[in-house]
């Protein structure tokens, strides 16, 4: 479904990704792990079209989408839950969810279904989204992304800065996304959290793919080596 070939990308004169190739099949959940600064977020933003490619291509359903803008990729069915959640502070919680459906794609996701997935949002719907907890904001960010009824969901550091109990709560909801038919790429620093929900895993090290394999077969020591880049 998604085929990234020879992707190099970065910001201004700083290059964050070098010749990254990977592919994701329809219905899969793929984890991308790596240390801070390995290029994981840049990768997702490049797939989304918010970071310019220096070279390489991004194909979605066989179509080269490398030159499309982010808002055009959303219309094709790609959706990103950005790092840091990026909730719209002047919108209410309900409005933050509804803005996700701006692209008018049809599909299973509605505000009601998001609330079923994250019951904590129910009593907050009419509140301003500005002063909520990190966990609540992350639930909104995920729900907002789902309301575009994406075929491919990109999750960037869902657990970042959240209490373990909240992370567990959010991650327990992720299988529902796959059940509704979406393909998922999860970017995480937390290897165990990422492996638990995914079919396959890619490890990034300093902007290059250092390991890839089935989540159930890669050994912890292999990942550790690929993660830190040193033979331990």
């Amino acid at each position: 479904m998604l085929v990234v070939d020879g992707m190099s990308a970065g910001y201004e004169d700083f290059r964050a990704l070098f010749d990254v190739s990977m592919s994701v099949r329809e219905g899969e959940t793929v984890a991308m792990v790596g240390a801070n600064g390995a290029g994981k977020s840049t990768f997702l933003r490049a797939v989304m079209g918010q970071v310019r490619l220096h070279s390489g291509t991004v194909r979605f359903d066989g179509r080269d989408i490398s030159s499309l803008k982010a808002h055009e990729r959303v219309k094709l069915g790609i959706s990103l839950v950005p790092e840091g959640r990026r909730i719209f502070p002047s919108l209410t919680v309900r409005e933050n969810l509804l803005i996700g459906s701006f692209a008018k794609r049809s599909g299973p996701w509605t505000v009601e279904r998001v609330v079923t997935m994250f019951p904590m949002l129910e009593r907050l719907l009419t509140r301003s989204a500005a002063k909520l907890s990190g966990g609540e904001q992350q639930a909104i960010a995920i729900g907002r992304a789902l309301l575009s009824n994406p075929r491919l969901v990109l999750l960037d550091e869902v657990s970042l800065g959240l209490a373990p109990v909240v992370v567990k709560q959010l991650y327990s909801a992720l299988p529902m996304i796959s059940e509704q038919g979406a393909t998922v790429i999860v970017v995480e620093q937390d290897i165990h959290q990422a492996l638990a929900v995914s079919d396959r895993v890619y490890c990034l090290l300093e902007g290059r793919v250092s390991l890839s394999g089935e989540a159930s077969t890669v050994s912890t020591s292999d990942i550790t080596a690929a993660y830190f880049g040193a033979a331990i």
Partner: protein
């Protein structure tokens, strides 16, 4: 009792300032764009009303809707093909660009219409009044201006609060990069916002031109009043803009009551006091960066 009259006239004048300042407030609120050509655009709209009316052989009131639509079109195209290119972390490019546009407009108007003072004819309501008592009377036209301001701001508020595209305006104002992730083309939203801003400045140009005479170089003075209204009311707050306009109008009317020479000065003093003691404006929530 003449102070009461000054208060009433000041409030009504505030409506005119509010109509004018709405576009400034919107452009700043949605895309952090400071449009220094705003006053010149109002004057341009005034001349466009004159020209379309004489070309079509209709009166000025009839040609207004046409000019408003025309201005909206110019706003959209100008934003998409010119101002959007100036948007970035540094606001200076946009400020300089709009300043240049303002100069171009002034000189174009001078070449096309000469420096002669002109005015617009709004019909008999220009001079008719409602007499309240011996010292207070309300001009029909001033009242119409004020009511128009409230209708305009109310409509804009409803649009921003209750429509999908209005929601997209607010989301883009908050965070354009994240708005793109919602499938929103932020550049297009900016185009729409500028279309609305130009449409309102077209309406403002009509009310200005019917209230007093104008010439090609009248724009910058109006721009000053517009900025004062926006800053007094609070940046990015629509109803704040109306209140800012009213505060400015009342200050000028009271200044005038003290002594004719104090008219504009009193407005500037109030503006400076707000800037010194309430820099976020009387009703503003501050500017997000």
């Amino acid at each position: 009792m003449s102070w009461l009259n000054a208060l009433v006239q000041g409030v009504l004048l505030g409506g005119l300032y509010a109509i004018f300042a709405t576009g400034l407030s919107l452009a700043f609120g949605v895309m952090r764009f400071v449009n220094l050509a705003h006053g010149d655009l109002a004057i341009l709209a005034g001349y466009l009303v004159l020209s379309t009316a004489s070309t079509m052989g209709v009166n000025h009131v009839v040609s207004l809707p046409l000019v408003v639509i025309l201005m909206a079109g110019i706003g959209y195209v100008g934003q998409r093909f010119l101002f959007n290119r100036t948007i970035g972390p540094d606001p200076l490019a946009g400020i300089l660009c709009s300043f240049g546009i303002g100069v171009v407009i002034q000189n174009f108007l001078l070449a096309r219409y000469t420096a002669t003072d002109r005015y617009l004819d709004a019909g008999p309501i220009e001079t008719s009044t409602i007499r309240i008592n011996d010292s207070v009377s309300i001009g029909h036209f001033s009242l119409l201006t004020f009511v128009s301001a409230i209708v305009l701001l109310g409509a804009l508020q409803l649009f921003l609060s209750h429509t999908t595209i209005g929601r997209a305006f607010r989301a883009t104002a908050d965070d354009p990069s994240t708005a793109q992730l919602m499938g929103i083309n932020d550049k297009r939203i900016y185009g729409f916002a500028m279309a609305i801003a130009f449409a309102t400045v077209g309406i403002a140009g009509f009310f200005l031109g019917a209230r007093e005479t104008f010439a090609p170089a009248s724009g910058p003075n109006q721009l000053l009043f517009g900025f004062e209204a926006v800053v007094i009311g609070g940046l990015g707050s629509l109803w704040g803009t109306l209140m800012g306009g009213i505060v400015l109008g009342v200050a000028q009317a009271f200044g005038n009551q003290l002594s004719v020479g104090w008219n504009l000065l009193a407005g500037h003093i109030v503006f400076l006091m707000v800037l010194a003691f309430r820099p976020n404006g009387l009703f503003g929530t501050g500017v997000r960066t």
